[in-house]
Subunit: 639 residues, 2 copies
């Protein structure tokens, strides 16, 4: 095979590649990020690059304008390299912040969903679907009324459920059917036991049907725009939850709502989702009226805020939500701006503190049907833990705080461009790091924080209680009355300010990891099981793509089990929400899951606090729980 | 048994009666009208009379105030006569206009519904029901969410169907449940395959649930206020349909809607229903918010106008309505003022010209389950005819015009106080009549018109084509270029104007009866049957309570069959609507009926016009169809 040389700008990184491969394949192999959601099918149009020189062969595409093609634009996935080539990756296709994670979640979903389609797990059957129908015009022999004629045709596709039509739609029917020559597209939404005829449009618009899967996180809100007719993810967008000023943790926000009412919190999250939708719509030149559904996953309280349901009793004994499985409502009724008759679905919650995001996670990972004893940990502002297999499932929630999402940490940031996502401290004290997008460092995201604390611990700069040891390293210093560790000096950062890890940051992380570990331990204990019984440990979360399993074990965030049993599964909240959005079967399954999982309320568990305190040590007070860490770091000797 | 003497004022009519009987029983036996809906159960409070003197024994009642009792008021049905008594029937309890018919329809319903309850035909299970629930308060052991806790309790009563709750109701739930001490009344409405939780009220309000059955007639609108918790008819009210100025017949109004839009027609009928509701509510001191449902029957076009559906294609080939079975909608969406979340149901139609009123009629008469070959004729502005039995049913509609409802006739009037409802002309030309309420005559209602024409025909004042014969009677005269017959001279009428029957009036009646008879004949013919095969002939209509079957046969309105086979069944439209309102089973049965009846479109039947022309003669061109009339009046000899 003949080799060619491909140089990627603006970095100027040059790689050798096989002639005939696509630019996207070559970039991927070289670890150079080019945005892509569809995985190389030439559909998402995200992998736009500019050919600066050299011989390529590009398949025709409608995703670029004539003008753009003239300016050298091409889709990396549709462009084969025939000789040496120079390529510019324009800013919009570069690794930009949270975009990387989102794109990877989109691809992760694609892999999962495709796999499940092969196995016929969930039929592609969106909660809101469009059907193009050609009706036989009425005659004296076939004189069925307009509504009944339409129903007859719909019944060929959806035979079983009762139909319901809104009065406005019914009123518009006679004129519309005739003006369209009896060729119409109906939009059908699933509402409880009924199929609602939401909309009738003239002509064939079956291909113009979009939906949104939304992960309503306590700290971060992520939205994926999905083509409901093909199940493709078109684009994705994320933002911080604007409720942050009302409190970083769920409990604080509930207290705020108790005092000031839930309106500001409701408006904040509705505004966030509307902003995400509006960005996705304008960027992809879609019509808002073609967005007919959204499916939201989130913890129970976030879903309450979203729907305007009073969450104040969630935090007071006996901890009762207004609803765990709210009905689908018209999105407009909540203030979400999509098609005015479009529907808003929420993933059903399991209990007051284990929400629809966990249900989505169980759905997305197939936890409900695995034979192997599995532990699932969704690391976010809350850490939800699920234990079990296809026969039984047990769940609890722990309050981790926002440290893993880069909040509550002095130099913390979201997992976006410039965030340090990996840290290595070699035995001789030399520190290396890697940032997202290989940009100049701006701060520390969740995975970087885990790495950093693990590194400090391994290097002996902090003791088992997490205390920085003043004389252990020249990087340890005191500022404003507390110790801190300098990760990156000011001259090397994007902002010109140094990036440090404070004693308080470390304590925040230890509290977070201790909360999760204690929860995991109690779940196991309640079933008379041990960490070594776990056959599969799934780590979910939007806190960073990269998770060094070894370091997560080292700090005692996850149990000391063989690495091959640990798998990072990404943002399962949005993956599960998307599955439900795209399949009524999946949505129905989510409901069954939410009803069948046993909810274990740690607040009522008397020994939780003891377990939490024990888990605040590195890796744990009880070293016998972490034999490999103990051995590797020689902890028995370190007192 | 000791006899006593009871004198009723203001007429002074005195009757002998058995001691111990109630005043209502005594009045009924004597043919003296006292208003009553409940049939003597002491519930409706309508039969208020004033004891002027004599010994009575009255059961205590809450329906009269202390002050009223002191003034001598008592309920006629709860008052036993112990000696000679003088009683004043106050104006509100006297026979007032349409009230008589309404009261009788209410009693007719009561008889039918009671009968069917005994036979367990339709379970009492209103379309919208209230349930009083006492929920177990949540605890750590029973920590179900509020909505799910409520559903669990509702499921004890309604196990099968999926539930749906509006967002507003769900939002109000947490506060309301706690404020009420977990004792609430839920309002549940049936919508397609779903049960909607319409409303939650604190405390026990299960007894405060009212509905309306409405007959949306082309000429007359009748509403019954029903206690949904007990199935009692509380009160009734009627008015002319305000769409009259847009055309007396359905077709004229459709043409108006084509030209000017359907809004004025929609507003007219909605306004009528609102006026009826408001009168019923204020008279019975009920709360509008406790009216949770209404069920409307009417012809297909009237239901279109009510729901704001375009009816213009109903009158143009191939005659297609917008919908035959419109879904239940929120009454407020149509502009009907009841509880803002209350539901409006319509009886499903059979075809373009056979509406929900006929479906209601089939339901009310049990026609769908009779073994006997039955013909059902609903005489109104349209004459709908149904033929069949439990194995098959065939229906058609004929355009009779409003003559039977007192419209389109010079001295015609609604069947209300002062309307001549019976006319007898003796062979010597002596004319006797009876008015509703025995008041001074004001005009002629439908049944009086039939009697009068039959009388003129029998006396030989009109010939077989309905022409008045100038010299046959001194009462026949010419005015304004046409012949007319003087029924009541000016001095004896309420208005001081004479009551006459014009040549045009007679022709209108003949057209109306010919239309109906022709339709009946064609239905029979299409099945290879004859009039003599009819085992049961049911005549429905709100056109008058009294129908002289013999005279209806004499003019050829109904076929010449033995009188004992003919039965007047009242306003079956409202009776059927009420059955559906009070029983989901009945509503479901109505839907099945509407789907199973074969609709026969006379407009497409080539010989209809010939049949119509033949039927315009008295009693018919073909005398062999009317053997007893022919024999009795010696028609063979009369040329």
């Amino acid at each position: 095979m003949k080799k060619v040389r491909v140089t990627f700008y603006p970095t100027g990184e040059a790689v050798e590649a096989e002639r005939g491969k696509t630019l996207l394949e070559i970039a991927k192999e070289a670890g150079i990020f080019i945005a892509s959601i569809c995985g190389g099918d030439g559909i998402c149009g995200r992998c736009r690059v500019i050919i600066k020189g050299g011989e390529v062969e590009a398949a025709p595409t409608t995703l670029l304008t004539r003008e753009e093609v003239q300016r050298g634009y091409t889709l990396a996935c549709q462009t084969k390299v025939l000789g040496d080539v120079e390529v510019l990756i324009p800013p919009e296709s570069r690794a930009e912040g949270a975009q990387i994670l989102i794109d990877e979640d989109a691809q992760r979903f694609r892999a999962l969903y495709a796999a499940s389609e092969e196995e016929a797990l969930f039929r592609h059957d969106p909660l809101v679907k469009k059907l193009y129908l050609e009706l036989p015009p009425p005659s004296l022999q076939d004189n069925l009324a307009d509504q009944e004629r339409l129903y007859r045709e719909i019944r060929r596709y959806i035979p079983a459920l009762p139909m319901q039509t809104g009065l406005k739609v019914l009123q518009s029917l006679p004129k519309l059917l005739r003006a369209s020559g009896w060729k119409v597209t109906v939009t059908l939404g699933r509402r409880g036991g009924t199929v609602e005829l939401i909309q009738v449009e003239p002509g064939d618009r079956a291909g113009q049907n979009f939906g949104l899967a939304v992960d309503v996180g306590t700290s971060t809100v992520v939205a994926h725009l999905v083509d409901l007719s093909t199940s493709r993810t078109i684009d994705a967008e994320a933002c911080y939850n604007s409720q942050m000023p009302f409190g970083e943790e769920v409990t604080r926000r509930i207290i705020y709502a108790e005092r000031e009412g839930l309106k500001p919190l409701n408006e904040a999250i509705v505004g966030d989702i509307n902003n995400l939708i509006s960005a996705l719509i304008s960027r992809n030149k879609a019509e808002l009226s073609d967005v007919t559904a959204l499916c939201c996953a989130g913890n129970t309280t976030m879903l309450h805020f979203l729907l305007g349901l009073d969450p104040t009793r969630i935090r007071k004994s006996p901890y009762i939500p207004a609803a765990t499985a709210p009905p689908p409502v018209r999105a407009a009724e909540v203030g979400i701006k999509i098609n005015p008759r479009g529907l808003l679905y929420t993933m059903p919650s399991i209990g007051s503190w284990v929400g629809g995001d966990t249900t989505a996670g169980i759905l997305a990972t197939g936890l409900y049907q695995t034979r192997r004893l599995t532990m699932f940990i969704d690391i976010g502002t809350n850490g939800e833990i699920v234990l079990g297999n296809r026969d039984w499932l047990l769940t609890c929630s722990t309050s981790a705080g926002p440290a893993f999402e880069g909040s509550g940490v002095k130099c913390g940031m979201k997992a976006s461009r410039g965030a340090i996502e990996r840290v290595e401290i070699s035995p001789d004290g030399y520190l290396r790091y890697k940032t997202i997008g290989d940009a100049k460092p701006k701060g520390l995201c969740g995975s970087g924080l885990i790495d950093a604390v693990a590194g400090l611990f391994a290097a002996g700069y902090i003791d088992r209680s997490g205390q920085l040891l003043p004389d252990s390293s020249p990087r340890v210093r005191e500022r404003d009355g507390q110790l801190e560790f300098v990760l990156v000096p000011a001259g090397r950062t994007e902002t010109g300010k140094e990036i440090v890890l404070t004693q308080r940051d470390i304590e925040n992380l230890l509290r977070a990891k201790a909360a999760i570990f204690a929860g995991a331990k109690i779940l196991l204990k309640s079933m008379g099981l041990d960490f070594q019984d776990i056959e599969q440990l799934l780590i979910a979360g939007g806190f960073g793509n990269y998770l060094d399993r070894e370091k997560a074990i080292m700090i005692g965030l996850i149990p000391d089990i063989p690495l091959e049993r640990v798998r990072f599964v990404g943002n399962t909240s949005i993956i599960g929400a998307k599955m439900a959005l795209l399949s009524e079967e999946a949505y129905a399954r989510a409901y069954e899951i939410s009803k069948s999982v046993t909810y274990y309320d740690l607040i009522t568990y008397p020994y939780y606090y003891d377990e939490f305190i024990s888990a605040k040590f590195l890796p744990h007070t009880d070293l016998s729980l972490f034999p490999t860490v103990t051995k590797r770091l020689g902890l028995e000797a370190r007192v």
